[in-house]
């Protein structure tokens, strides 16, 4: 496996283990940087890139041990994993509360499109109104 697929595996494994996503992202980033340093150290000994990467991955050690070490620290787990009973109550309530305001959030998120649509509708109404006015005037004057 390549280092990239190894780190992807680690990321999904940590998330499934209930580690908080921000700790997962940071751990993977720091491990990638650590691997870069190990590769550099191997290259400095005259090793070629392929062997340097293989050797660096070996030195980095088993990524499963990282998962075990992360899981052993409750402070790094996600809130829902630490308090599952509270999460079971809070999540559905939050979803119910968010449901009525979701269109507002959607409106805010797409404010520029809605403004453009409103402007186009206004211009369209003005043109249609003017045409009706001209028609009315032409009837009156004829």
């Amino acid at each position: 496996m390549s280092p990239d697929s190894d780190f992807q595996w680690l990321e999904s494994r940590l998330l499934r283990a209930g580690v908080a996503p921000r700790h997962v992202r940071r751990t993977v980033t720091e491990l990638r940087e650590h691997l870069d340093d190990l590769v550099d150290a191997e290259l400095a000994t005259g090793c070629d890139l392929e062997n340097a990467e293989e050797s660096a991955m070996r030195e980095l050690g088993s990524l499963e041990s990282v998962v075990i070490a992360m899981r052993a620290r409750p402070e790094l787990l996600s809130w829902a994993r630490r308090y599952p009973r509270v999460a079971i109550m809070v999540y559905p309530l939050t979803c119910l509360a968010l449901l009525p305001v979701a269109p507002v959030f959607a409106g805010v998120a797409h404010a520029s499109q809605i403004a453009r649509w409103g402007l186009c509708m206004m211009i369209g109404a003005l043109i249609t109104g003017s045409m009706f006015l001209l028609l009315q005037l032409s009837i009156l004057l004829s």
Partner: protein, 104 residues
């Protein structure tokens, strides 16, 4: 014994800020390779210490690369002192047990 990695990390970071790779190398060096922390497993320990406010971190660019540097906080210094005292107590207990004539 579970506090040994924490004690070593806090002791090293008491001197200057360092990043993960540097810390692993420094632990090997200062312990004469007697203690070698797994390269990857150092990060859960560092993140745990940061979470309980014993450490703080910052991203710093050095020689074209960015690294997360860790440094000790006042709370971390207190934790270091506490762990150090605890370590001396355990060390003293083991030494006395090993030197005791009652031990076969």
């Amino acid at each position: 014994m579970s506090g040994v990695p924490e004690l070593l990390l806090l002791r090293l970071l008491d001197k200057r800020e360092m990043y993960g790779y540097e810390l692993v190398r420094a632990i090997r060096s200062v312990t004469g390779e007697a203690i070698s922390l797994g390269e990857g497993v150092i990060y859960p320990v560092l993140h745990g210490l940061e979470k309980n406010k014993s450490l703080k971190s910052r991203r710093k660019a050095v020689a074209g690369r960015t690294r997360v540097y860790y440094s000790l906080t006042a709370k971390g210094r207190q934790r270091l002192n506490k762990l150090h005292i605890e370590w001396l107590r355990i060390q003293g207990g083991i030494t006395s047990a090993m030197e005791s004539p009652g031990v076969a």
